[in-house]
């Protein structure tokens, strides 16, 4: 029973997904015209409330103290139930709920109202939560695949669109390849150490086995598989196409929850398996690799994002750039893991609510057949629809890292951790990058408020949807709360990071 209490976030989402499928199969009424789609708006409410409930369960277990629940540790090493896991549970459920609400508005608007999407969101979130909790290579892989397959299917959801199919196929092929590399890496690590649990691999890494060629090769393969999911340059090639082709709620979901799940996996592997002094030193470990990846990711994504003509694609590159900033925080784990992990956790929440809101605002900018895609589409939106433009601006300003929004404190914490770790050059370059990044976020604002659409040009017509507005309100409140009263959130991230680092 107490195990059920400790697992309640996972169980809520998993059972909710099964229930939702039942409701979809027998509960929804057929449309008035034969052959048309059913009205599945109720499923959006169901999916969102299931995910909010999952997040609430995680919050309650957090308040009660997961260490006080007897039996919670008995699932280790398969599933590690600690504040780190619960923190990610809340974040993943929040991201999933925002995506479900966005889908509730977007899917009927664009003629995609099929109930499977909500079941996919729930199952994908379930996989991401398993991934965040995984303490063994086997559960980690199961969680990763559950999350990834759901994301592939969501990307391909708009089958009639060639762009969606192209993005999904690229994502699927490259993703399967990366998963195979990850699995091969774990097989080599098992060969080198005789362990599949991450902590066991870590304790073997402290001895001679940690420097054997087999172990190094295995660790490199595992890291390649993980940074693919994080979409760091040079493993990012799928990201712009998949993000652009996917229905926008799926894009928001991938940018928030899938990315957060991938970072949870990265943090776990780096702290538990590669946390030995030799592996965390600059001379012989992963920090220079992570620093190079961070630098490449930020610089490349920011330069390319500025050249995009499609706002959605720009936001896709922006999500790559933010992965680069987070990797700066990951590199800072070499010195003081607790502070760096706390910075990364806070950053992921701040980035998640901002980017989820930004995609939501982009959805609200367009309507059926007149989707907002390019900068020209949203020209003059500030006059045509001030409320939508204001919401969009709020999220973009937060993504740009301008105080007093959430994104500012995220960047501040991550950069401070990097400075404390002695990474001055990397921090300076990351700061320069965020200045470059501000250019393309503010460019959207310039188009919305200072440009007029060319005479006779086609512009996007804003849609009306209570679901999307709800999602935007939730994200906006969090963006402001994280920015104006960051203390309690930073404290939560600190207490989650403490246990995550010590394992």
């Amino acid at each position: 029973m107490s195990i059920a209490l400790a697992l309640s976030p996972l169980l809520a989402v998993g059972l909710g997904a099964l229930l939702l499928m039942l409701v979809e199969a027998i509960g929804t009424k057929a449309g008035p015209v034969p052959g048309t789609f059913r009205d599945v708006r109720g499923l959006a409410v169901g999916a969102a409330s299931t995910l909010f409930a999952g997040g609430a369960f995680a919050g309650c277990v957090w308040m009660y103290g997961v260490e006080r629940i007897p039996g919670a540790a008995s699932l280790a090493p398969w599933l590690i139930l600690d504040p780190f896991t619960l923190f990610f549970d809340v974040l993943l459920c929040l991201g999933g709920a925002i995506a479900a609400l966005l889908a509730g508005g977007y899917m009927p608007e664009h003629g995609l109202e099929r109930g499977e999407f909500y079941a996919l969101i729930l199952f994908t979130t379930f996989g991401a939560m398993v991934l965040a909790a995984a303490g063994d290579a086997l559960t980690l892989f199961l969680g990763l695949e559950t999350m990834s397959i759901g994301a592939y299917a969501m990307t391909a959801f708009r089958r009639a669109s060639a762009r969606s199919a192209e993005g999904a196929l690229k994502y699927f092929l490259l993703g399967s390849f990366a998963a195979a590399i990850l699995l091969y890496g774990f097989a080599l690590l098992y060969g080198a150490t005789g362990h599949t649990d991450l902590a066991g691999i870590g304790s073997a890494a402290r001895q001679a086995a940690g420097r054997s060629p087999l172990f190094i090769l295995g660790a490199a393969f595992v890291l390649v598989g993980i940074v693919f999911k994080v979409s760091a340059v040079p493993f990012h090639a799928w990201t712009p196409d998949a993000y652009e082709g996917a229905p926008t709620p799926a894009t928001a979901y991938m940018a928030v929850a899938v990315k957060a799940g991938a970072f949870a996996m990265l943090l776990r592997v780096l702290t538990l398996s590669l946390g030995s002094p030799a592996w965390t030193s600059w001379a012989s470990g992963w920090p220079p690799v992570m620093a190079t990846l961070a630098l490449l990711t930020m610089t490349y994504a920011n330069l390319v994002a500025g050249r995009q003509e499609s706002v959605k694609r720009m936001l896709a590159y922006s999500s790559i750039a933010h992965a680069g900033y987070v990797l700066v925080g990951v590199t800072a784990m070499m010195r003081d893991p607790k502070q760096a992990v706390a910075g990364v956790l806070y950053y992921l929440v701040a980035y998640g609510v901002s980017t989820g809101g930004a995609f939501g605002a982009l959805i609200l900018c367009g309507s059926r057949g007149r989707e907002a895609v390019s900068y020209e589409d949203i020209a003059g939106l500030g006059k045509r629809n001030p409320a939508v433009a204001l919401a969009f601006s709020l999220f973009l300003v937060s993504l740009a890292g301008i105080p007093p929004m959430a994104g500012f404190f995220g960047k501040w914490l991550v950069f401070r951790a990097a400075i404390d770790a002695g990474l001055y050059k990397l921090t300076a370059l990351a700061f320069l990058n965020s200045v470059v990044g501000a250019y393309y976020y503010l460019r959207v604002l310039v188009y919305m408020y200072m440009r007029e659409p060319a005479a006779g040009a086609v512009t996007a017509a804003p849609m009306r949807s209570g679901f999307v507005v709800t999602a935007l309100v939730v994200s906006a409140v969090l963006v402001l709360a994280l920015g104006l009263t960051p203390t309690s959130y930073i404290d939560a991230a600190m207490s989650a990071a403490g246990v995550g680092a010590s394992g």
Binding site: E116, L142, G143, T146, F157, R159, G191, P213, L217, A455
Partner: protein
Amino acid sequence: MSTSLIYFWACAATAVLGGLSVVVAKNPIRGAMGLLMLIVSVAGLFLPLHAQFLAAIQLIVYAGAIVVLFLFVIMLLGPSASTPVDRRGTFVRAASGGLFALAGGAFWVILARAVGTGGPAAPDPSFGGIDAVGSVLFTDALVPFELSSGLLMVAVVGAVAVARGRQGKRSMSESELEVARTSVPLPDPADKGTGVFSHEIDDRDAGGHAR
């Protein structure tokens, strides 16, 4: 060279040949046969590792079910399934083949250096039997076993979602969307104040409620 080593090299060489023929084959039937060859020889590789159950499952599920399914699909699609010969990107293909060979060579060297640096001891002969696998599956590894049901479920739901998408009568294709977008002209900026846009939205909303 001992018998077990000869057996290993025979199986490994057949597996690599099978894998290569999957990649290279122009004819999809040949590709499927190459896959079959790969699967059978990998099942052969499982046997000296005391993974008899896994080898049997590999034959039943992959060779027996999945390759047969592939063949059915290829036969249903007919000759149109084969793509015309594409000569573009010959250089890129050659370069990627060279790079792959280089990486494989480096990998080989590293692995060769790693030989003899320990690793887990050889497993007990009963390690991969049905009873051993079964008892692990339902005791120690119960958590991942249960979690794998989530993986299977999401795969099924995802497959249905993607397959059903084609039938969407209401979903517009990309080109239709383009037409729809370009055929709706922006109202003249002069009569912006008359609420042409809100009128249009109301129309659409009304239509939405009607259906």
